[in-house]
């Protein structure tokens, strides 16, 4: 039996329970008290026997009483203080079991998105876009979809840590009080490092803090930010204007490495606007992209030219000269042929006022400035692009902070949600400098690399747990409202800053509310409620008129010509784990990265030509060397990569990310300097002779005839409208049509709109409780995504055209899977759904063998995590959690269909078009996916099916799929002919 007396067990148990809020699940009081003897006994074969033998009657009764008294201890820690109102009558709008939606906003991957959060009896389970928010229009994308998993991540930091040991906020409050005393009036020695502030309340709090402590210093650093864009605007306009692009008005777009669909802020709205202009039935836009490594934007281009990142500036100069910009002298040698420069210049000139030149963050400031000059020159300013005053930035940057650290000026450093020990550039050795800081305080969602160095680590609340506000790229500001009380002991940044300022009375809500009362003036409660209900507090401001561009910089700017054989190393944020902050998110780790289809790791992307030169194969490990730093990385051969340019993605090689994200891939930061944050010139590579197996989900990329992805040019489609559909012949059949139900569900996927972001895959994963299987299982080709996005190349490996194809279950009318199942576990329903009966499935896997589309997914092992408590709370209660040995696949979100049925039945009406939105459809930024009743000729999906671009995948097999595709259309410049 335990060495502890019952009363000491209870005392310790209570102490530990105070350390956590909400229900904590435990098996015995001793386990909770963390008694070492009990832990040893748990390991024994028959602990029960041991405990019974050593227990006398008195002891037993004591324990019995204790169990009775404290059996419900977990319940006692229930809701936090405040006024509790008993549930007398059902609150308006709330029905148990029926989800509710709340509008809020979400900061993710350098962007801000207005979202609606689905709450199931108080548990946030799924995010959808806020249709009224101009950054979303109802769509999301992969990173926002994964935010729910982050909330429920069991590895999140749960309590304050003082030098690695559990402590309390009360203890930290005393530290904060002492800090205020020590700082005195001036506050010198107090430094704050934060990520890029996007919250107006935070900015106001920052200003208040700096006002209170004038000697303090606030620094902002974001590994992936828009510093170059800001400096470029500074060059061109003399002040940091923020560009706001109106892609919907652009007939001709030139992207200079600007991945406006992939990683630029505002990407979701850009994607919607771009897709809107790609419909061949209305005037279609044309996109030119010059880039070093294929991006989502590049994959959608009508003309994509691969250049080293450094050569793009040269190309921009050539183009400016061709366009007749004063002061621009071409230096030549960008690698883009004169014919192409002429053609694109002519195209831009022909569309004055409706063209658009964009520069990417990876380009240096003068290229951004030149893009502003070109837009002004082409008369686009105010039409396809307008400008906003930027957010007021903090005074300091990371280099300043580094200087202060080296000078030993820093008494106290407060790091707010920044993993600087991991993500600092190589020339600013923060991991070492932070060790000498007298007092380092870290506030963040995880106990990460920086937290490990900190004297105090304070847990942050997740954005779904706190009150805050956020300003989106276009200036729209939203109030962030919590969906759930903090799961652990986290506090929001506002509460933390208030605590530091000595204000312990205000909670997050009142801080944010106060700020908004001050901002909105005499805002009453109704206005506040209204802004919460809509998810928008302040609409986007009108564009500010920028001053005329200054072109002096052109004279002094001479882009350095790199030798033709020089190797370049470019850095990119990872498409899924971004700068490393989402490393512990299993959904994002397992999402095949768009374009590489790699999961769970990054790789050094090299061109096929470079691979041939060095005789490298996928997975061969090379050493990259630059500026005295070395890095070992496996290579991945990337068709469409610039010949002498290597790309590495940030965000991997985390050492303290959590159970999911630690020690995956390689850390690219050690090669990244603050001066060459995006492209380093003159790297050398050597082979190590070793090789690793990378976890890719798709090994074959070349299409075989007949191509699964059909693509035509606009000219072809105009000349022969039936060019796509004429091959789409469904063979005759002996069998009768499927029994016609009241509805016939069907789907179309518009390949002309799909940008390949894979938001659909994660949305489906969140909606349908799809498990994460891990890198090893992905290597074994057992990933579980119900909707995958295939990626194909056509053309030469040096610069192929890139295609994306989302593939859900086709719900074939003549489903090959149904025929072969011996137990009838996959059957057809009367509305045309091919349904999978998990309870009946015995796992012969014949259905998967017989599926020509290979959309069926099998639980080879117990993939669903049935033990982690917090993950249970994340799941969608309307969808079964599948166990091992069972086949599963896309259901067309049958739970949403059934919900619509119930709603319509109650109202005694038919299900209207648009009542059912599948999870993939809702998430899609470009509305590429349409779903509905194909028997209703007026439904959106029926109209899409009637499109001349419609074709069915493998139609010749007579499977009669209910999911159809619309062929992609490209709009190349006829003037370029074969020289595309």
């Amino acid at each position: 039996m335990s060495s502890l007396t019952p009363s000491s067990v209870l005392g310790q148990a209570r102490k530990r329970l105070q350390g956590s809020t909400g229900a904590r699940f435990w098996r015995a009081l001793e386990e909770l008290a963390d008694d070492p003897v009990f832990r040893r006994e748990l390991g024994d074969a028959v602990p029960q026997l041991a405990s019974v033998m050593s227990m006398d009657r008195r002891h037993f009764l004591q324990l019995l009483g204790a169990s009775l008294a404290f059996g419900g201890l977990a319940a006692c820690s229930g809701p936090p203080g405040g006024k509790l109102v008993p549930w007398i009558s059902q609150p308006n709008g709330m029905t148990p079991g029926v989800p509710q939606f709340y509008a809020t906003a979400l900061a993710y991957g350098g962007d801000v998105l207005g979202v609606l959060v689905e709450s199931r009896d108080g548990r946030p389970t799924k995010l959808e876009g806020n249709p009224q928010h101009p950054a979303s229009f109802g769509a999301t994308g992969p990173l926002p979809q994964a935010a729910v998993l982050e909330l429920w991540d069991p590895d999140r930091s749960q309590q304050p840590l003082h030098r690695g040991h559990a402590d309390s906020w009360d203890a930290f409050a005393q530290v904060a009080a002492k800090l205020r005393m020590d700082c005195g009036q001036d506050g010198s020695g107090l430094y704050v490092l934060s990520g890029r502030l996007q919250s107006p309340t935070s900015m106001a709090q920052r200003d208040a803090l700096l006002h209170r402590f004038p000697g303090a210093s606030w620094h902002e650093y974001e590994p992936v930010a828009d510093d170059n864009a800001e400096q470029g605007a500074q060059l061109a306009f003399g002040k940091p204007m923020v560009s706001r692009y109106h892609i919907e008005h652009a007939d001709v777009i030139l992207s200079l490495e600007a991945d406006f669909l992939g990683d630029m802020p505002g990407r979701v709205a850009h994607a919607r606007a771009f897709a809107g202009r790609r419909d061949p039935s209305s005037p279609m836009s044309r996109l030119y992209v010059a880039e070093a490594t294929p991006s989502l934007t590049g994959s959608m281009a009508d003309h994509r030219w691969t250049l080293r990142s450094a050569d793009i500036a040269v190309f921009a100069r050539e183009l400016a000269t061709e366009l007749g910009v004063n002061g621009s002298k071409a230096i030549g040698g960008s690698g883009v042929s004169a014919a192409r420069v002429k053609a694109v210049a002519a195209d831009l000139l022909a569309h004055r006022g409706s063209s658009l030149v964009m520069a990417g963050e990876s380009q240096p400031p003068p290229v951004h400035a030149l893009a502003h000059v070109l837009n002004e020159h082409l008369g686009n300013a105010g039409k396809t692009v307008d400008y906003l005053e930027g957010n007021p930035r903090s005074s300091g940057n990371l280099a300043d902070l580094c200087m202060a650290l080296r000078r030993d000026d820093v008494e106290t450093l407060i790091v707010l949600e920044s993993n600087i020990a991991y993500s600092a550039p190589a020339d600013l050795p923060f991991a070492e400098l932070l060790q000498d800081v007298p007092q380092l305080i870290h506030w963040g969602l995880y106990v990460d690399e920086t937290a490990a160095l900190a004297d105090w680590h304070l847990p942050a609340t997740h954005t779904l747990e706190n009150w805050s506000d956020l300003r989106a790229q276009d200036g729209t500001t939203s109030v962030v409202q919590p969906l759930i009380a903090p799961l652990y002991q986290g506090r929001s940044v506002h509460e933390l800053l208030a605590l530091l300022m000595g204000d312990t009375t205000q909670d997050g809500l009142s801080i944010v509310q106060q700020h908004w009362q001050a901002t909105l003036g005499d805002a009453d409660a109704a206005a506040w409620q209204h802004s919460l209900g809509r998810g928008i507090a302040l609409a986007a401001p009108a564009a500010a008129m920028p001053p005329p561009t200054q072109r002096e910089f052109l004279a002094g700017w001479q882009p350095a010509r790199q030798p033709d054989d020089a190797l370049e190393l470019t850095f990119r944020p990872d498409p899924t784990v971004w700068d490393g902050r989402y490393a512990n998110n299993g959904w994002l780790q397992e999402l095949p990265k768009p374009l590489t289809q790699l999961t769970w790791s990054n790789a050094a992307l090299i061109s096929p030509a470079l691979a041939a030169t060095y005789a490298l194969h996928n997975g061969d490990v090379i050493t990259l060397e630059h500026g005295g730093s070395k890095l070992e990385a496996p290579v991945w051969i990337m068709p469409g990569q610039a010949g002498r340019s290597i790309t590495v993605h940030l965000g991997y090689g985390r050492r303290a990310a959590g159970r999911v994200g630690s020690n995956l891939g390689f850390d690219a930061y050690p090669l990244r300097s603050s001066a060459q944050a995006w492209a380093a010139q003159g790297v050398t590579i050597t082979k190590t002779g070793r090789s690793v197996e990378l976890a890719g989900t798709q090994q074959h990329f070349q299409m075989e005839a007949p191509a699964p992805v059909r693509e035509v040019t606009l000219a072809q489609l105009m000349a022969e409208p039936d060019i796509v559909g004429r091959d789409n012949v469904t063979p005759p059949s002996f069998y009768p049509q499927q029994p016609p139900g009241e509805y016939a569900w069907g789907m179309t996927v518009d390949l002309n709109a799909c940008i390949g972001c894979k938001g659909c895959s994660i949305a489906c994963q969140a909606e349908n409780n799809i498990p994460v299987v891990g890198a090893d299982q992905v290597r074994r080709e057992r990933e579980m995504h119900w909707i995958r996005v295939d990626r194909y190349y056509a053309g030469s490996p040096e610069n192929p055209s890139i295609h994306h194809q989302p593939v859900p279950c086709m719900h074939c009318e003549h489903a090959p899977c149904e025929l072969v199942c011996p137990v009838g576990a996959t059957v057809h329903d009367q509305e045309g759904l091919n349904v999978q009966v998990y309870n009946r499935c015995i796992g012969t896997r014949f259905c998967s063998n017989n599926c020509p589309y290979k959309v069926r997914r099998f639980n080879f092992l117990q993939f669903s995590d049935l033990t982690t408590e917090s993950l249970k709370a994340q799941r969608n209660p309307d969808v079964s959690v599948r166990n091992r040995g069972v086949m599963e696949k896309c259901t067309y979100c049958i739970q949403r269909i059934e919900e619509a049925h119930i709603t319509a039945d109650k109202a005694q009406r038919r299900i209207a078009d648009g009542d059912i939105v599948t999870a993939c459809q809702a998430a899609c930024p470009t509305q590429a996916i349409r779903f509905g009743d194909i028997s209703d000729p007026h439904s959106e999906v029926a109209k899409a099916k009637a499109s001349p671009r419609r074709y069915d995948l493998l139609a010749e097999l007579n499977t009669r799929p209910r999911t159809s595709y619309l062929a992609a259309v490209r709009n190349p410049n006829p003037a370029l002919g074969d020289d595309a």
Binding site: E704, E781, R782, R791, V823, T844, N849, L861
Partner: protein, 445 residues
């Protein structure tokens, strides 16, 4: 037939065969083989435990290759059974009396191979404890099997075949068991064989019933030989996968079954006659005949390969053509060419009568054919699945140690049963051989 008839006299036959079962000489090689069989079977048992605990994911199967070793093993084993039934039943019906010295061990081989093969379709299921859902038993949910699926019919086919094989084998054993009972020296053996002999007293009535029942069971078994393997073939040709969707599969699979079955009969028979000194019973002539049949079956199978390739191109179906191109030159091209070496090239030696009578050579060719036939099923299953319709879903299969464990373990299990058989039961049919020893029987055939 006189030339083929064993020269032993009536009682000498019984004495010789019973001696093997009752005195079990040559126990040293038997024990060595037994240790190997026990080790392999143990590995199999461990594999089954791990499989039940963790799931079929312990194997290397994936999407798209959702069937691999387990189904290959299944088809391979059930095919091996075919030759035994053919030798004992079809040659019995056609009065080929030379079969008499082969039929007992060949039938035993059938029963054991089918038993082993039957384990695979169960263990390969994602949820093997629900395998009985394939059976049409009445239940309150009113759920029945899905009759269009070949797997349901396959379930019946295996079950029927296993039951008939066991009955046929056992019925044939009864008079021999009675002989052993009579010759047994110890009480224990007398009881053991006595119980198994079901009170056989050798009355004329017994003999008459024995003969009619043998005839009926042989009549049942012969069509089953063809139906079972046609059914196995339909498991694949029902699918629409290029490389599976072929009408030649049923006869092609039956041919393959005979091919591997005769090979196994040789691979088992040659060491058996060597160790037990049965050269007088299993003569070179028997080897010659088995080798001839193996050659004939092999040529039929080879024809199947050729037709498969021809039909793909003749159909003009681009998926079929791509599938054949992948089979010949794809990632698993080496499998195809090994199959050609084993199943096409090696058997050409059997055209020579001299070679057909060289036990060692025939044994090696038999082994090669067994390897080739296993690889052929692997080629048809994995080689078709890995290269489906959409290029995005092409994917490789890599076996794990548990794939190997189940293959090797199933061989161990088969060997274990076969060793117990040769240890305790008459390896040759004394009844049949005694018939041959009588002049009037010999004249009749």
């Amino acid at each position: 037939m006189t030339a083929h008839r064993p020269g032993n006299a009536y009682s000498a036959i019984s004495a010789r065969v019973s001696y093997l079962a009752l005195q079990h000489p040559h126990s040293r090689p038997w024990w060595l083989a037994m240790i190997v069989a026990l080790l392999l079977s143990g590995w199999f048992v461990v594999g089954v435990i791990v499989l039940l605990a963790r799931g079929v994911g312990i194997w290397g199967i994936d999407i798209p290759v959702a069937w691999a070793f387990a189904i290959t093993d299944y088809v391979w084993w059930i095919a091996i059974g075919m030759a035994g039934t053919f030798i004992s039943a079809a040659l019995f019906l056609t009065r080929q009396s030379w079969r008499s010295s082969l039929n007992r061990y060949a039938e035993a081989m059938t029963v054991f191979a089918v038993s082993v093969s039957g384990l695979f379709p169960i263990f390969h299921l994602g949820r093997p404890w629900f395998f009985y859902w394939l059976a049409p038993y009445p239940n309150r949910m009113d759920v029945w099997p899905q009759w269009r699926s070949a797997l349901v019919w396959d379930f019946f086919a295996i079950l029927a075949y296993l039951l008939v094989s066991i009955m046929y084998w056992y019925v044939g054993l009864i008079p021999d068991l009675a002989t052993l009972r009579d010759r047994a020296a110890t009480r224990g053996k007398q009881v053991f064989y006595g119980l198994l002999a079901l009170g056989w007293r050798g009355e004329a009535r017994h003999w008459q019933r024995f003969e009619s029942l043998s005839l009926i069971l042989a009549g049942l078994a012969v069509p089953l030989v063809f139906s079972v393997h046609s059914m196995v073939a339909l498991d694949f040709s029902e699918g629409m996968l290029p490389g599976w969707h072929s009408t030649i599969f049923p006869p092609f699979f039956v041919g393959g079954a005979f091919f591997s079955g005769f090979a196994m009969a040789l691979v088992l028979g040659i060491p058996l006659r060597y160790w037990f000194g049965l050269q007088d019973f299993i003569t070179d002539t028997h080897l010659d005949k088995l080798a001839k049949m193996m050659l004939a079956a092999g040529l039929f199978v080879d024809y199947g390969y050729a037709v498969d390739i021809f039909m793909a191109y003749y159909s003009g179906d681009r998926y079929e053509i791509a599938g054949i191109a992948a089979r010949l030159g794809g990632a698993y091209g080496w499998v195809f060419w090994t199959v050609v070496a084993c199943n096409v090239m090696s058997i050409q030696l059997l055209w020579s009568p001299r070679i057909r009578r060289m036990p060692v050579v025939v044994f090696v060719i038999g082994l090669l054919v067994l390897v080739g036939m296993w690889l052929e099923r692997f080629m048809l299953i994995v080689g078709s699945l890995y290269h489906g319709y959409l290029p995005s879903s092409h994917g490789m299969f890599y076996p794990t140690q548990w794939d190997i464990a189940f293959l090797a373990g199933s061989m161990g299990l088969f060997l274990l049963m076969f060793l117990l058989f040769i240890r305790w039961l008459p390896v040759l049919s004394m009844v049949e051989l005694r018939k041959l020893a009588t002049p009037e029987e010999g004249a009749g055939s």
